[in-house]
Protein backbone atom coordinates (compact mmCIF):
# COMPACT_ATOMS: atom_id res chain seq x y z
CA UNK A 1 0.00 0.00 0.00
CA UNK A 2 1.38 3.40 -0.85
CA UNK A 3 1.60 6.04 1.85
CA UNK A 4 -0.87 8.15 -0.09
CA UNK A 5 -3.65 5.56 -0.04
CA UNK A 6 -2.84 4.77 3.60
CA UNK A 7 -3.35 8.41 4.50
CA UNK A 8 -6.61 8.37 2.57
CA UNK A 9 -7.85 5.30 4.43
CA UNK A 10 -6.95 6.87 7.76
CA UNK A 11 -8.79 10.05 6.83
CA UNK A 12 -11.85 8.04 5.93
CA UNK A 13 -11.71 6.23 9.27
CA UNK A 14 -11.53 9.53 11.16
CA UNK A 15 -14.48 10.90 9.21
CA UNK A 16 -16.41 7.72 9.96
CA UNK A 17 -15.79 8.04 13.67
CA UNK A 18 -16.83 11.70 13.65
CA UNK A 19 -19.97 10.79 11.70
CA UNK A 20 -21.00 8.16 14.25
CA UNK A 21 -20.16 10.41 17.21
CA UNK A 22 -22.12 13.35 15.81
CA UNK A 23 -25.27 11.30 15.31
CA UNK A 24 -24.79 9.79 18.76
CA UNK A 25 -24.86 13.32 20.20
CA UNK A 26 -28.07 14.08 18.28
CA UNK A 27 -29.59 10.82 19.55
CA UNK A 28 -28.72 11.59 23.17
CA UNK A 29 -30.24 15.06 22.81
CA UNK A 30 -33.31 13.43 21.29
CA UNK A 31 -33.65 11.17 24.34
CA UNK A 32 -33.46 14.12 26.75
CA UNK A 33 -37.25 14.54 27.25
CA UNK A 34 -37.42 10.93 28.48
CA UNK A 35 -34.65 11.68 30.96
CA UNK A 36 -36.33 14.91 32.03
CA UNK A 37 -39.60 13.07 32.66
CA UNK A 38 -37.99 10.46 34.91
CA UNK A 39 -35.80 13.02 36.63
CA UNK A 40 -38.88 15.07 37.55
CA UNK A 41 -40.85 11.98 38.53
CA UNK A 42 -38.47 11.24 41.39
CA UNK A 43 -38.25 14.66 43.05
CA UNK A 44 -40.58 16.59 45.35
CA UNK A 45 -43.20 18.77 43.69
CA UNK A 46 -41.64 21.89 45.22
CA UNK A 47 -38.37 21.04 43.56
CA UNK A 48 -39.99 20.56 40.12
CA UNK A 49 -40.88 24.25 40.05
CA UNK A 50 -37.82 25.51 41.93
CA UNK A 51 -35.61 28.16 40.36
CA UNK A 52 -32.84 27.68 39.31
CA UNK A 53 -33.75 24.48 37.51
CA UNK A 54 -31.79 21.43 38.65
CA UNK A 55 -30.99 18.70 36.12
CA UNK A 56 -30.91 15.97 38.78
CA UNK A 57 -33.07 15.95 41.94
CA UNK A 58 -31.49 16.78 45.30
CA UNK A 59 -33.18 13.80 46.89
CA UNK A 60 -34.37 10.84 44.82
CA UNK A 61 -37.95 10.07 45.83
CA UNK A 62 -38.58 6.72 44.20
CA UNK A 63 -41.73 6.36 46.31
CA UNK A 64 -43.47 8.77 43.88
CA UNK A 65 -44.06 5.87 41.52
CA UNK A 66 -45.89 3.95 44.24
CA UNK A 67 -47.86 7.04 45.22
CA UNK A 68 -48.90 7.73 41.61
CA UNK A 69 -49.83 4.08 41.12
CA UNK A 70 -52.02 3.84 44.23
CA UNK A 71 -53.14 7.33 45.13
CA UNK A 72 -53.99 8.95 41.82
CA UNK A 73 -54.97 5.93 40.93
CA UNK A 74 -52.85 5.04 37.95
CA UNK A 75 -53.13 1.35 38.79
CA UNK A 76 -56.81 1.48 37.94
CA UNK A 77 -56.19 3.51 34.76
CA UNK A 78 -53.52 1.02 33.71
CA UNK A 79 -56.02 -1.82 34.05
CA UNK A 80 -58.71 0.06 32.10
CA UNK A 81 -56.27 0.81 29.28
CA UNK A 82 -55.15 -2.81 29.20
CA UNK A 83 -58.73 -4.16 29.08
CA UNK A 84 -59.67 -1.87 26.20
CA UNK A 85 -56.49 -2.40 24.17
CA UNK A 86 -56.56 -6.20 24.60
CA UNK A 87 -60.27 -6.53 23.75
CA UNK A 88 -60.05 -4.31 20.67
CA UNK A 89 -56.99 -6.24 19.49
CA UNK A 90 -58.66 -9.63 20.03
CA UNK A 91 -61.85 -8.65 18.18
CA UNK A 92 -59.87 -7.02 15.37
CA UNK A 93 -57.72 -10.12 14.83
CA UNK A 94 -60.66 -12.56 14.83
CA UNK A 95 -62.83 -10.43 12.55
CA UNK A 96 -59.92 -9.65 10.21
CA UNK A 97 -58.93 -13.31 9.86
CA UNK A 98 -62.51 -14.33 9.05
CA UNK A 99 -63.09 -11.57 6.49
CA UNK A 100 -59.57 -11.83 5.10
CA UNK A 101 -60.08 -15.54 4.48
CA UNK A 102 -63.38 -14.92 2.70
CA UNK A 103 -61.70 -12.34 0.44
CA UNK A 104 -58.67 -14.51 -0.25
CA UNK A 105 -60.12 -17.98 -0.68
CA UNK A 106 -63.90 -17.99 -1.08
CA UNK A 107 -65.68 -17.21 -4.33
CA UNK A 108 -68.84 -15.14 -3.97
CA UNK A 109 -70.74 -12.59 -5.96
CA UNK A 110 -69.45 -9.03 -5.68
CA UNK A 111 -66.22 -9.98 -3.95
CA UNK A 112 -64.01 -7.45 -5.73
CA UNK A 113 -66.55 -4.64 -5.29
CA UNK A 114 -66.86 -5.33 -1.56
CA UNK A 115 -63.09 -5.41 -1.19
CA UNK A 116 -62.84 -2.08 -2.96
CA UNK A 117 -65.45 -0.72 -0.57
CA UNK A 118 -63.40 -1.96 2.39
CA UNK A 119 -60.32 -0.20 1.07
CA UNK A 120 -62.35 2.95 0.40
CA UNK A 121 -63.40 3.20 4.05
CA UNK A 122 -59.73 3.60 4.99
CA UNK A 123 -59.94 7.13 3.64
CA UNK A 124 -62.50 8.20 6.24
CA UNK A 125 -60.67 10.15 8.97
CA UNK A 126 -61.54 8.71 12.41
CA UNK A 127 -62.07 12.17 13.87
CA UNK A 128 -65.06 12.64 11.56
CA UNK A 129 -66.96 9.71 13.00
CA UNK A 130 -66.55 10.74 16.64
CA UNK A 131 -69.83 12.66 16.90
CA UNK A 132 -72.22 10.18 15.24
CA UNK A 133 -70.48 7.27 16.99
CA UNK A 134 -71.01 8.91 20.35
CA UNK A 135 -74.67 9.48 19.52
CA UNK A 136 -75.06 5.79 18.55
CA UNK A 137 -73.40 4.67 21.79
CA UNK A 138 -75.60 7.08 23.69
CA UNK A 139 -78.73 5.68 22.03
CA UNK A 140 -77.62 2.13 22.88
CA UNK A 141 -77.18 3.17 26.51
CA UNK A 142 -73.50 2.24 26.43
CA UNK A 143 -71.92 5.52 27.50
CA UNK A 144 -69.35 4.97 30.28
CA UNK A 145 -69.21 1.21 29.65
CA UNK A 146 -66.39 -0.95 28.30
CA UNK A 147 -68.44 -2.35 25.38
CA UNK A 148 -69.29 1.25 24.50
CA UNK A 149 -65.62 2.11 24.09
CA UNK A 150 -64.47 -1.18 22.62
CA UNK A 151 -67.06 -2.12 19.98
CA UNK A 152 -67.08 0.99 17.75
CA UNK A 153 -63.29 0.89 17.26
CA UNK A 154 -62.93 -2.86 16.72
CA UNK A 155 -64.07 -3.10 13.12
CA UNK A 156 -61.43 -1.29 11.10
CA UNK A 157 -61.16 -2.63 7.55
CA UNK A 158 -57.38 -2.42 7.34
CA UNK A 159 -56.95 -5.75 9.15
CA UNK A 160 -59.16 -7.62 6.68
CA UNK A 161 -57.11 -6.25 3.80
CA UNK A 162 -53.79 -7.07 5.50
CA UNK A 163 -54.85 -10.64 6.30
CA UNK A 164 -56.19 -11.15 2.77
CA UNK A 165 -52.84 -10.13 1.31
CA UNK A 166 -51.04 -12.54 3.60
CA UNK A 167 -53.43 -15.46 3.03
CA UNK A 168 -52.98 -15.08 -0.74
CA UNK A 169 -49.29 -15.84 -0.29
CA UNK A 170 -50.03 -19.21 1.37
CA UNK A 171 -49.95 -22.07 -1.18
CA UNK A 172 -53.40 -23.42 -1.98
CA UNK A 173 -52.16 -27.04 -1.84
CA UNK A 174 -51.77 -26.86 1.93
CA UNK A 175 -55.50 -26.68 2.50
CA UNK A 176 -56.60 -28.77 -0.46
CA UNK A 177 -55.73 -32.05 1.25
CA UNK A 178 -57.71 -31.06 4.32
CA UNK A 179 -60.66 -30.10 2.15
CA UNK A 180 -60.70 -33.48 0.43
CA UNK A 181 -60.74 -35.03 3.90
CA UNK A 182 -63.93 -33.07 4.46
CA UNK A 183 -62.66 -30.44 6.90
CA UNK A 184 -64.85 -27.33 7.14
CA UNK A 185 -63.57 -23.94 6.09
CA UNK A 186 -63.54 -22.73 9.67
CA UNK A 187 -61.48 -25.76 10.70
CA UNK A 188 -59.03 -25.11 7.84
CA UNK A 189 -58.73 -21.45 8.83
CA UNK A 190 -58.08 -22.21 12.49
CA UNK A 191 -56.01 -25.36 12.03
CA UNK A 192 -53.92 -24.59 8.96
CA UNK A 193 -54.06 -20.97 7.85
CA UNK A 194 -53.86 -19.14 11.18
CA UNK A 195 -50.76 -21.00 12.46
CA UNK A 196 -49.01 -20.11 9.20
CA UNK A 197 -50.01 -16.46 9.45
CA UNK A 198 -48.45 -15.60 12.78
CA UNK A 199 -46.16 -12.88 11.32
CA UNK A 200 -49.14 -10.98 9.90
CA UNK A 201 -51.28 -11.59 12.98
CA UNK A 202 -48.42 -10.41 15.20
CA UNK A 203 -48.07 -7.26 13.15
CA UNK A 204 -51.78 -6.52 13.20
CA UNK A 205 -51.96 -7.18 16.95
CA UNK A 206 -48.95 -5.01 17.73
CA UNK A 207 -50.13 -1.96 15.82
CA UNK A 208 -53.75 -2.32 16.96
CA UNK A 209 -52.70 -2.72 20.58
CA UNK A 210 -50.36 0.28 20.53
CA UNK A 211 -52.89 2.40 18.66
CA UNK A 212 -55.49 1.74 21.35
CA UNK A 213 -53.07 1.99 24.26
CA UNK A 214 -52.22 5.49 23.06
CA UNK A 215 -55.76 6.42 21.98
CA UNK A 216 -57.11 9.47 23.76
CA UNK A 217 -60.13 11.23 22.27
CA UNK A 218 -62.53 8.28 22.00
CA UNK A 219 -62.11 6.98 25.59
CA UNK A 220 -62.17 10.60 26.79
CA UNK A 221 -65.62 11.07 25.30
CA UNK A 222 -67.18 7.70 26.14
CA UNK A 223 -65.73 7.05 29.61
CA UNK A 224 -67.38 9.86 31.52
CA UNK A 225 -66.78 8.34 34.97
CA UNK A 226 -63.41 9.02 36.60
CA UNK A 227 -63.04 5.35 37.60
CA UNK A 228 -63.31 4.22 34.00
CA UNK A 229 -60.64 6.56 32.62
CA UNK A 230 -57.77 5.12 30.58
CA UNK A 231 -54.15 6.08 31.24
CA UNK A 232 -53.94 8.98 28.77
CA UNK A 233 -57.30 10.35 29.96
CA UNK A 234 -56.28 9.86 33.59
CA UNK A 235 -53.08 11.81 32.99
CA UNK A 236 -55.03 14.87 31.83
CA UNK A 237 -57.39 14.68 34.81
CA UNK A 238 -54.60 15.63 37.19
CA UNK A 239 -53.32 18.38 35.01
CA UNK A 240 -55.42 21.16 36.43
CA UNK A 241 -56.40 20.05 39.93
CA UNK A 242 -55.46 22.76 42.40
CA UNK A 243 -51.76 23.19 41.63
CA UNK A 244 -50.54 20.46 39.29
CA UNK A 245 -48.78 17.55 41.01
CA UNK A 246 -46.03 17.56 38.41
CA UNK A 247 -43.95 14.85 40.03
CA UNK A 248 -46.83 12.35 40.17
CA UNK A 249 -47.85 13.36 36.68
CA UNK A 250 -44.35 12.59 35.40
CA UNK A 251 -44.38 9.28 37.28
CA UNK A 252 -47.72 8.45 35.64
CA UNK A 253 -46.41 9.49 32.22
CA UNK A 254 -43.39 7.22 32.72
CA UNK A 255 -45.61 4.28 33.65
CA UNK A 256 -47.83 4.89 30.63
CA UNK A 257 -44.81 4.81 28.31
CA UNK A 258 -43.27 1.61 29.66
CA UNK A 259 -45.27 -0.98 27.66
CA UNK A 260 -44.69 0.82 24.36
CA UNK A 261 -40.97 1.32 24.99
CA UNK A 262 -40.65 -2.31 26.04
CA UNK A 263 -42.44 -3.54 22.90
CA UNK A 264 -40.53 -1.14 20.64
CA UNK A 265 -37.24 -2.57 21.93
CA UNK A 266 -37.99 -6.30 21.95
CA UNK A 267 -39.98 -6.24 18.69
CA UNK A 268 -37.54 -3.93 16.87
CA UNK A 269 -37.12 -6.36 13.99
CA UNK A 270 -40.85 -6.96 13.45
CA UNK A 271 -41.51 -3.20 13.48
CA UNK A 272 -38.72 -2.51 11.01
CA UNK A 273 -39.86 -5.29 8.69
CA UNK A 274 -43.46 -4.13 8.73
CA UNK A 275 -42.52 -0.53 7.99
CA UNK A 276 -40.09 -1.74 5.32
CA UNK A 277 -43.03 -3.56 3.77
CA UNK A 278 -44.81 -0.20 3.54
CA UNK A 279 -41.71 1.33 2.02
CA UNK A 280 -41.62 -1.48 -0.51
CA UNK A 281 -45.30 -1.13 -1.38
CA UNK A 282 -44.97 2.60 -1.81
CA UNK A 283 -41.76 2.03 -3.70
CA UNK A 284 -42.21 -0.69 -6.25
Amino acid sequence: MTTKSKAKARRRLVLDVINHAALAIVAVAFLFPFFWMVSNAVRSNAEVMAIPVRILPKVFEWGNFVAAWTRLPFGRFFLNSAIIAVCVTAITVVVSCLSGYAFARLKFKGRETLLLGYIGTLMVPPLMLIIPLFLIINRLGMVNTFPGVILPISFGTFGAFLMRQFFLSIPMELEEAARIDGASRLRILIGIIVPLSMPAIGLLSLFTFMGQWNNFLWPLIVMTGADNATLPVGLTMFQTQQGTQWNYLMAGATLSMLPGIFLAIILQKLIYNSIALNAGMGGR
Binding site: L106, M128, P132, L133, F134, V233, M250, S256, Y272, A279
Partner: protein, 309 residues
Protein backbone atom coordinates in the same frame (compact mmCIF):
# COMPACT_ATOMS: atom_id res chain seq x y z
CA UNK B 1 -48.12 -29.52 -26.12
CA UNK B 2 -47.10 -28.71 -22.60
CA UNK B 3 -49.88 -26.15 -22.42
CA UNK B 4 -52.42 -28.75 -23.41
CA UNK B 5 -51.12 -31.04 -20.77
CA UNK B 6 -51.29 -28.33 -18.15
CA UNK B 7 -54.83 -27.37 -19.00
CA UNK B 8 -55.84 -31.01 -18.72
CA UNK B 9 -54.43 -31.05 -15.21
CA UNK B 10 -56.21 -27.90 -14.14
CA UNK B 11 -59.42 -29.17 -15.64
CA UNK B 12 -59.26 -32.35 -13.67
CA UNK B 13 -58.56 -30.26 -10.62
CA UNK B 14 -61.50 -27.91 -11.04
CA UNK B 15 -64.04 -30.67 -11.18
CA UNK B 16 -63.81 -31.81 -7.55
CA UNK B 17 -63.33 -28.19 -6.53
CA UNK B 18 -66.68 -27.19 -7.97
CA UNK B 19 -68.25 -29.79 -5.72
CA UNK B 20 -66.73 -28.06 -2.71
CA UNK B 21 -67.71 -24.70 -4.03
CA UNK B 22 -71.42 -25.41 -3.77
CA UNK B 23 -71.68 -23.73 -0.40
CA UNK B 24 -68.90 -21.17 -0.82
CA UNK B 25 -71.24 -18.21 -1.07
CA UNK B 26 -72.94 -19.23 2.15
CA UNK B 27 -69.64 -19.83 3.93
CA UNK B 28 -68.34 -16.46 2.75
CA UNK B 29 -71.49 -14.82 4.07
CA UNK B 30 -70.97 -16.23 7.56
CA UNK B 31 -67.25 -15.41 7.52
CA UNK B 32 -67.94 -11.82 6.53
CA UNK B 33 -70.96 -11.33 8.78
CA UNK B 34 -69.26 -10.21 12.02
CA UNK B 35 -67.14 -7.66 10.16
CA UNK B 36 -70.04 -6.45 8.04
CA UNK B 37 -72.32 -5.87 11.04
CA UNK B 38 -69.56 -3.86 12.72
CA UNK B 39 -68.81 -1.85 9.60
CA UNK B 40 -72.44 -1.10 8.87
CA UNK B 41 -73.16 -0.05 12.45
CA UNK B 42 -69.94 1.79 13.29
CA UNK B 43 -68.72 3.10 9.94
CA UNK B 44 -71.39 3.33 7.24
CA UNK B 45 -74.21 4.45 9.53
CA UNK B 46 -72.06 7.14 11.22
CA UNK B 47 -70.98 8.55 7.85
CA UNK B 48 -74.59 9.04 6.76
CA UNK B 49 -75.59 10.20 10.23
CA UNK B 50 -72.82 12.77 10.09
CA UNK B 51 -74.06 14.18 6.78
CA UNK B 52 -77.61 14.33 8.10
CA UNK B 53 -76.53 15.88 11.40
CA UNK B 54 -74.63 18.65 9.67
CA UNK B 55 -77.96 19.90 8.28
CA UNK B 56 -79.62 20.04 11.71
CA UNK B 57 -79.33 22.12 14.85
CA UNK B 58 -79.28 19.13 17.22
CA UNK B 59 -77.99 19.95 20.71
CA UNK B 60 -78.08 16.38 22.14
CA UNK B 61 -81.12 17.20 24.30
CA UNK B 62 -84.36 18.08 22.55
CA UNK B 63 -85.37 17.27 19.00
CA UNK B 64 -83.24 18.09 15.96
CA UNK B 65 -84.59 20.51 13.34
CA UNK B 66 -83.62 20.53 9.70
CA UNK B 67 -81.84 23.82 9.02
CA UNK B 68 -80.53 23.30 5.48
CA UNK B 69 -77.13 24.80 4.84
CA UNK B 70 -77.41 27.16 7.82
CA UNK B 71 -74.52 25.51 9.70
CA UNK B 72 -72.23 25.84 6.70
CA UNK B 73 -73.17 29.44 5.92
CA UNK B 74 -72.69 30.32 9.58
CA UNK B 75 -69.24 28.73 9.53
CA UNK B 76 -68.01 30.71 6.57
CA UNK B 77 -69.80 34.01 7.13
CA UNK B 78 -70.84 34.52 10.76
CA UNK B 79 -68.47 32.54 13.00
CA UNK B 80 -65.56 34.85 13.88
CA UNK B 81 -63.48 31.94 15.21
CA UNK B 82 -63.80 29.64 12.22
CA UNK B 83 -61.38 31.38 9.83
CA UNK B 84 -58.79 31.49 12.60
CA UNK B 85 -59.28 27.78 13.19
CA UNK B 86 -58.97 27.03 9.49
CA UNK B 87 -55.85 29.17 9.18
CA UNK B 88 -54.29 27.55 12.27
CA UNK B 89 -54.95 24.07 10.89
CA UNK B 90 -53.39 24.85 7.52
CA UNK B 91 -50.48 26.64 9.21
CA UNK B 92 -49.83 23.69 11.51
CA UNK B 93 -50.11 21.16 8.68
CA UNK B 94 -47.82 23.00 6.28
CA UNK B 95 -45.07 23.75 8.80
CA UNK B 96 -45.30 20.35 10.51
CA UNK B 97 -45.36 18.48 7.20
CA UNK B 98 -42.32 20.27 5.79
CA UNK B 99 -40.32 19.93 9.02
CA UNK B 100 -41.30 16.30 9.51
CA UNK B 101 -40.29 15.29 5.98
CA UNK B 102 -37.04 17.28 6.01
CA UNK B 103 -35.97 16.05 9.46
CA UNK B 104 -36.97 12.42 8.92
CA UNK B 105 -35.36 12.28 5.49
CA UNK B 106 -32.22 13.88 6.93
CA UNK B 107 -32.06 11.43 9.83
CA UNK B 108 -32.82 8.47 7.56
CA UNK B 109 -30.02 9.43 5.17
CA UNK B 110 -27.63 10.07 8.04
CA UNK B 111 -28.43 6.70 9.63
CA UNK B 112 -27.98 4.90 6.32
CA UNK B 113 -24.47 6.36 6.02
CA UNK B 114 -23.37 4.57 9.21
CA UNK B 115 -21.34 1.38 9.26
CA UNK B 116 -22.38 0.37 12.79
CA UNK B 117 -25.45 0.61 14.97
CA UNK B 118 -28.01 1.55 12.30
CA UNK B 119 -30.77 -0.34 14.07
CA UNK B 120 -29.98 1.28 17.43
CA UNK B 121 -30.27 4.78 16.04
CA UNK B 122 -33.43 3.83 14.20
CA UNK B 123 -34.80 2.41 17.45
CA UNK B 124 -34.04 5.57 19.41
CA UNK B 125 -35.80 7.91 16.99
CA UNK B 126 -38.74 5.52 16.75
CA UNK B 127 -39.35 5.31 20.53
CA UNK B 128 -41.80 8.25 20.88
CA UNK B 129 -44.00 6.72 18.14
CA UNK B 130 -44.97 3.91 20.52
CA UNK B 131 -45.64 6.15 23.53
CA UNK B 132 -48.95 7.88 24.31
CA UNK B 133 -48.99 11.28 22.62
CA UNK B 134 -50.77 12.63 25.68
CA UNK B 135 -47.86 11.64 27.93
CA UNK B 136 -45.38 13.13 25.46
CA UNK B 137 -47.33 16.39 25.37
CA UNK B 138 -47.42 16.55 29.18
CA UNK B 139 -43.63 16.14 29.37
CA UNK B 140 -43.12 18.92 26.80
CA UNK B 141 -45.61 21.08 28.66
CA UNK B 142 -43.42 20.79 31.75
CA UNK B 143 -40.44 21.80 29.62
CA UNK B 144 -42.25 24.82 28.16
CA UNK B 145 -44.22 25.90 31.24
CA UNK B 146 -43.39 29.40 32.47
CA UNK B 147 -40.38 29.29 34.75
CA UNK B 148 -39.59 25.80 33.46
CA UNK B 149 -36.55 24.32 31.76
CA UNK B 150 -37.01 26.06 28.42
CA UNK B 151 -37.43 29.48 30.04
CA UNK B 152 -34.34 29.11 32.18
CA UNK B 153 -32.40 27.97 29.12
CA UNK B 154 -33.55 31.06 27.19
CA UNK B 155 -32.63 33.25 30.14
CA UNK B 156 -29.16 31.69 30.25
CA UNK B 157 -28.76 32.44 26.55
CA UNK B 158 -30.33 35.93 26.90
CA UNK B 159 -32.89 35.11 24.23
CA UNK B 160 -36.31 36.80 24.43
CA UNK B 161 -38.41 33.62 24.15
CA UNK B 162 -40.03 32.87 27.49
CA UNK B 163 -43.51 31.70 28.48
CA UNK B 164 -44.00 30.36 24.95
CA UNK B 165 -47.26 28.58 25.78
CA UNK B 166 -48.83 31.94 26.69
CA UNK B 167 -47.62 33.66 23.54
CA UNK B 168 -49.95 34.28 20.60
CA UNK B 169 -47.25 33.49 18.06
CA UNK B 170 -44.91 31.07 19.84
CA UNK B 171 -47.49 28.68 21.34
CA UNK B 172 -48.05 27.09 17.93
CA UNK B 173 -44.31 26.68 17.49
CA UNK B 174 -44.11 24.81 20.80
CA UNK B 175 -46.94 22.52 19.69
CA UNK B 176 -45.21 21.88 16.36
CA UNK B 177 -41.86 21.12 18.02
CA UNK B 178 -43.59 18.62 20.32
CA UNK B 179 -45.37 17.02 17.38
CA UNK B 180 -42.11 16.70 15.45
CA UNK B 181 -40.40 14.98 18.38
CA UNK B 182 -43.35 12.65 18.78
CA UNK B 183 -43.91 11.89 15.11
CA UNK B 184 -40.63 12.00 13.21
CA UNK B 185 -39.65 8.42 14.08
CA UNK B 186 -42.09 6.61 11.84
CA UNK B 187 -41.05 8.42 8.68
CA UNK B 188 -37.39 8.10 9.66
CA UNK B 189 -37.70 4.31 9.75
CA UNK B 190 -39.85 4.32 6.60
CA UNK B 191 -37.38 6.37 4.56
CA UNK B 192 -34.41 4.52 6.02
CA UNK B 193 -35.95 1.22 4.91
CA UNK B 194 -36.51 2.64 1.43
CA UNK B 195 -32.89 3.84 1.22
CA UNK B 196 -31.75 0.34 2.23
CA UNK B 197 -33.58 -1.02 -0.81
CA UNK B 198 -31.67 1.15 -3.28
CA UNK B 199 -29.34 -1.31 -5.05
CA UNK B 200 -25.73 -0.76 -3.99
CA UNK B 201 -24.62 -1.39 -7.58
CA UNK B 202 -26.33 1.82 -8.78
CA UNK B 203 -24.43 3.89 -6.24
CA UNK B 204 -21.19 2.09 -6.98
CA UNK B 205 -21.58 2.70 -10.70
CA UNK B 206 -22.21 6.39 -10.08
CA UNK B 207 -19.20 6.58 -7.79
CA UNK B 208 -16.99 5.07 -10.48
CA UNK B 209 -18.36 7.62 -12.95
CA UNK B 210 -17.18 10.30 -10.54
CA UNK B 211 -20.49 11.45 -9.07
CA UNK B 212 -20.10 13.23 -5.72
CA UNK B 213 -22.01 12.12 -2.60
CA UNK B 214 -24.25 15.16 -3.09
CA UNK B 215 -25.08 14.14 -6.68
CA UNK B 216 -25.62 10.52 -5.68
CA UNK B 217 -28.20 11.66 -3.14
CA UNK B 218 -30.15 14.07 -5.35
CA UNK B 219 -29.86 12.23 -8.66
CA UNK B 220 -30.02 8.57 -7.64
CA UNK B 221 -31.21 7.84 -4.12
CA UNK B 222 -33.90 10.53 -3.89
CA UNK B 223 -35.58 9.70 -7.22
CA UNK B 224 -35.45 6.00 -6.36
CA UNK B 225 -37.15 6.46 -3.00
CA UNK B 226 -39.55 9.15 -4.25
CA UNK B 227 -42.59 6.80 -4.28
CA UNK B 228 -42.01 6.02 -0.58
CA UNK B 229 -41.39 9.70 0.10
CA UNK B 230 -44.72 10.45 -1.54
CA UNK B 231 -46.49 7.77 0.50
CA UNK B 232 -45.02 9.19 3.73
CA UNK B 233 -45.96 12.75 2.81
CA UNK B 234 -49.58 11.87 2.03
CA UNK B 235 -50.06 9.86 5.22
CA UNK B 236 -48.40 12.53 7.38
CA UNK B 237 -50.55 15.26 5.85
CA UNK B 238 -53.74 13.31 6.56
CA UNK B 239 -52.88 12.76 10.23
CA UNK B 240 -51.62 16.29 10.81
CA UNK B 241 -54.86 17.84 9.55
CA UNK B 242 -56.56 15.96 12.40
CA UNK B 243 -54.18 17.19 15.13
CA UNK B 244 -55.84 17.15 18.54
CA UNK B 245 -54.07 15.47 21.50
CA UNK B 246 -51.09 17.84 21.82
CA UNK B 247 -53.32 20.87 21.63
CA UNK B 248 -55.79 19.52 24.18
CA UNK B 249 -52.96 19.05 26.69
CA UNK B 250 -50.61 21.94 26.01
CA UNK B 251 -52.75 24.95 25.12
CA UNK B 252 -56.46 24.04 25.06
CA UNK B 253 -56.53 25.95 21.80
CA UNK B 254 -55.17 29.11 23.41
CA UNK B 255 -53.98 31.64 24.17
CA UNK B 256 -57.21 33.09 22.76
CA UNK B 257 -57.71 30.93 19.67
CA UNK B 258 -54.05 31.00 18.65
CA UNK B 259 -53.69 27.20 18.51
CA UNK B 260 -57.31 26.11 17.99
CA UNK B 261 -57.45 23.67 15.06
CA UNK B 262 -60.32 21.95 13.26
CA UNK B 263 -59.92 18.83 15.40
CA UNK B 264 -60.05 20.88 18.56
CA UNK B 265 -63.04 22.87 17.28
CA UNK B 266 -64.96 19.65 16.59
CA UNK B 267 -64.31 18.51 20.16
CA UNK B 268 -65.17 21.89 21.65
CA UNK B 269 -68.40 22.44 19.70
CA UNK B 270 -69.51 18.82 19.95
CA UNK B 271 -68.61 17.79 23.46
CA UNK B 272 -68.36 21.00 25.43
CA UNK B 273 -71.16 23.03 23.84
CA UNK B 274 -73.09 19.94 22.60
CA UNK B 275 -73.72 21.57 19.21
CA UNK B 276 -73.75 18.21 17.42
CA UNK B 277 -75.03 19.62 14.13
CA UNK B 278 -72.55 22.48 13.99
CA UNK B 279 -69.63 20.22 14.97
CA UNK B 280 -70.60 17.77 12.20
CA UNK B 281 -70.45 20.59 9.67
CA UNK B 282 -66.90 21.38 10.86
CA UNK B 283 -66.03 17.68 10.48
CA UNK B 284 -67.13 17.77 6.84
CA UNK B 285 -65.04 20.87 6.19
CA UNK B 286 -62.09 18.93 7.63
CA UNK B 287 -62.87 15.98 5.36
CA UNK B 288 -63.02 18.28 2.34
CA UNK B 289 -59.67 19.77 3.32
CA UNK B 290 -58.10 16.31 3.66
CA UNK B 291 -59.45 15.25 0.27
CA UNK B 292 -58.33 18.50 -1.37
CA UNK B 293 -54.79 18.27 0.03
CA UNK B 294 -54.51 14.60 -0.93
CA UNK B 295 -55.77 15.30 -4.45
CA UNK B 296 -53.32 18.19 -4.73
CA UNK B 297 -50.46 15.90 -3.75
CA UNK B 298 -51.53 13.23 -6.21
CA UNK B 299 -51.70 15.85 -8.95
CA UNK B 300 -48.31 17.25 -7.97
CA UNK B 301 -46.61 13.84 -7.73
CA UNK B 302 -46.32 13.61 -11.53
CA UNK B 303 -43.71 16.34 -11.30
CA UNK B 304 -41.42 14.60 -8.83
CA UNK B 305 -42.28 10.96 -8.17
CA UNK B 306 -40.53 8.38 -10.33
CA UNK B 307 -42.01 4.91 -10.65
CA UNK B 308 -40.10 1.93 -11.99
CA UNK B 309 -41.06 0.31 -15.30
Amino acid sequence: MLDKHRSAITQSKTRPRRWFRAGEGRTAFFFLLPGLIGILLFLVLPIFASIALSFTDWQLLGTPHFVGFANYTRLFTADPQFWTVLRNTVFFTVEYLILNIVVSLGLATWISSLKFGQRWFRGIFFLPTFTPLIAVAIVWMLIFTSGGLFDSLMERLSLPFSGVLNSQTLAMQAVILTSIWAGVGYNTVLFNAALDMVPASYLEAARIDGATAWDRFWKIRLPLISPTLFFGTVMTAITSLQVFDQIFVMTKGGPGSATATLGYAIYQRGFQNFQMGYASAIAWVMFALIMALTALQFWFQRKWVHYDN
